[in-house]
Symmetry: C2
Subunit: 525 residues, 2 copies
Amino acid sequence: MDIRDRHPNLAEWNDLIEGSLADPDSEPILNLDPDDPDPLYDAIFVGGGAGGRFGAAYMRAMGGRPLIIDAWPFLGGSCPHQACVPHHLFSEAAEELDRMRWFSDELFFPKFDASRASILELVRLFLAGRASAHAFMNWQTKEQLDVSYVLNARATLVDPRTVRAGGRTFRARNLVLGTGARPLTPDVPGLDLHGVYDFVSVVEELDYEPTRCVVIGGSKVAMEYGSFFHATGCDTTIVSRSPVMRSSSLHHVDEDLRAYVVGGMRERGMDILEGAEPVAVHGAAGSVRGVTVRLASGEEREIETDMVFLGLGERPETTEAQAVLGIDVGPTGRVVVDHHMRTTTPNVYAIGDLIGGPMEMFKARKSGVTAARNIMGEDLEFDFSEYPDFLHTTYEVSWVGLTEAEAREACDEVIVIQMPPYVEGLDTQHLPLPCAEGTMLYAFSRPRLSGFQKLVVDGTTRKVLGAHHCGYGAKDAFQYLDHLIHRPEGLTVDELGWMNELFLNPEHFVQLSRLRAGKSTLTHL
Amino acid sequence: MDIRDRHPNLAEWNDLIEGSLADPDSEPILNLDPDDPDPLYDAIFVGGGAGGRFGAAYMRAMGGRPLIIDAWPFLGGSCPHQACVPHHLFSEAAEELDRMRWFSDELFFPKFDASRASILELVRLFLAGRASAHAFMNWQTKEQLDVSYVLNARATLVDPRTVRAGGRTFRARNLVLGTGARPLTPDVPGLDLHGVYDFVSVVEELDYEPTRCVVIGGSKVAMEYGSFFHATGCDTTIVSRSPVMRSSSLHHVDEDLRAYVVGGMRERGMDILEGAEPVAVHGAAGSVRGVTVRLASGEEREIETDMVFLGLGERPETTEAQAVLGIDVGPTGRVVVDHHMRTTTPNVYAIGDLIGGPMEMFKARKSGVTAARNIMGEDLEFDFSEYPDFLHTTYEVSWVGLTEAEAREACDEVIVIQMPPYVEGLDTQHLPLPCAEGTMLYAFSRPRLSGFQKLVVDGTTRKVLGAHHCGYGAKDAFQYLDHLIHRPEGLTVDELGWMNELFLNPEHFVQLSRLRAGKSTLTHL
């Protein structure tokens, strides 16, 4: 279907996408220049997810000539279809359900009715609405970003300059591979039973309401989905080989932050088994009935459950790219690239979840942009070894820079500024600090639930080394804190303390810093 | 009561403060150096609110010798007692009630029961907990900040170097006046009736559950408290001489932002009468029963109500300071100071809500710090003519820098990057963008409620001129955006677009900028 001269509005795009998704025989969607039927593109972006879409848009903005090819009938990739967007919807529901439980039959909150809370219903809410974001991205990429694309057509790699899709052949000076990753599956018997899901299949395939869940894994996805399931009233057990929030995929997790976050999950009744691993998933009549887990002690435990959720990370699928293009792949399955996003094969770049580093949006998009800018003649390196990070439980948890322990390794003098305050022995259990948007109701009735925040400072240079927050409303700020503390001159407590706070602000770093900024020798607060 | 050698914990402080507030004959609380009974302080801070406490703490940190005197038995001033803290608690309740109404009997939300929502109950929740923040500030100021103070003792000004309080005389090289402001009362008959409140008396005196409310005023306090009352089910009418959100006390309010925010209030059923003013408040049996309002048309309307809320701004009480110290006061009642916070009387400074500019926390605290640093020998100017700002309805609304209209006045070429996108005629009414923490549930069921955001950019210099947001979770970020866009070198779209977003972030400025950063000639998005 050639839509170059059509300009579907959002509702029309929505219908076109829904229709294409529902019909396996639906035809490719072509947004190509009819006046130039066989152009040599500057780059073909194989995969129009976050990295491909942003990379292609940047290249086009620079005057270059990109083409995106994607197997799905929409741009944006897995994020709005199966990953970040449903996760955020579910996490917001978890936050809300959590509040409604704590305040059950108090104030304006009615008695909490767990029978109303349904994982399946929230999945269906997501499914009914997800194409609207797809529609917007297809519309925007065509009408505002002026990028050519072929959607609903799987790309077949021919050589480093040639790709086939939708029965046509496309040629380019470069290829940019951005086909993403898929959830990992552990080597445990019973995973073929009905009732075993990962973050993709839980959205695509869930067809009943689980009452108990065993989550395998201890990193972000496991914590986030586990917290959501548990908040709906689905009793959740997390089975994690490493301590949760301390896997190798998460860097800079401060121990006090971790203790607050994981303690909060346990306080809400989640069973968290660390140092444990699944031995087998058992079923009856084709469906999950239980999991055998080997505990840290070596003892085995049977856990009854009607759902198993795999939250073990992801791995890219690179077989075709390796075979056809000869690109190198590292030991964990990620495509090897340099700081320009160049693979080991000339004129072939790789971006997003295909390459190493965090499988996060900033890296996906900026790696796409980096590839585009280098193809267009810039000499630009993208180093994603340092970045801000976050996860959700029933809270929003954000962090950037060094932990207190890392700072003590790196500096002579480390100063900590935090809430509740950095003192021993004070009766802070009823102290409603921190409090801010999102934790005010907690602050006035269950102060211990109102969050935690910590700023880590080099006592000698006075520079902020790290910031750590559990609560709500600070995530956006951490984007800018990351920029400020990682810029060459850094950010001192004195500069931070002279900023204009918007009180009550979710993190109190500006004003707390001001209370110490006057001291020539900094001390804890 | 001399507590210098006592170290009350938070619970003990709480009891001491509650006891002092309850007993009009309670004695002063003295935290003074017993070894130096008659010192010459560097400054006496008359008023230990935000400005006095931060100023004194900074002075002490610099090695100076401050004394705080306050009539209340706690430090922190009106903010945690009657102003910002209850306001934020009420605004959070309003956000939550709003969500529970929209989702009544949908998903996990039960049928909304307006009879459970009570202004009085939330006021009582606040009253029961407010001393815990007071306790913390008294504890922190003594134990962590090492500042001397006399509390629960009204200061009497003697001369620019002498103050009496609690039966003792204190001397200093300088005075720093920080006694704050009190809500304004309009010249309308009937305000002595039971049922007329301002933000102070609604906390201190409310003793029944209002069912209808007329709010007089159109600026922050009126919008915030009006939105809260209305969210509880108390039908609210706002009577404002100027268009709401467009009073002279609010600068840089973008018209599109205003339209979204005020439209949202109206959509929720609030009656907003602009160009209108109250003529008289009527009562029966000593209590409010109605308000006569003169409408913009000149016509008079009777509004039945059992509550009137005055949200008209505040004015400092300066009679004593003018009479004793001879300081000058400007036409609006604010103490005249220079950029050093010096009044027209030598060695007398004024800070916080006593002086001009916004009655906001950043100005209060930083003006206190400015006075302290100048007294300690620095030459420091504090210019608060530019600052980020915010207010609450059932949303959190944040803004900084120029509006689109202001930018068009100032620049040749203005570029707007916003969500929903800056285009005419697109069917965006079902577009769930922006969406982020706090608006995900709306995004998937009532997309038009998911917020608004706009970035205003100089198309020539590529610098960000202003940012405007309605939603949740962006307020904290605006502290840093303010710093970045107002620093001498400013912030370009290109720098912003190279930051590391934490996706889904409440404001999408980083990634939206990135979609345009590649273009040598910027265009709207």
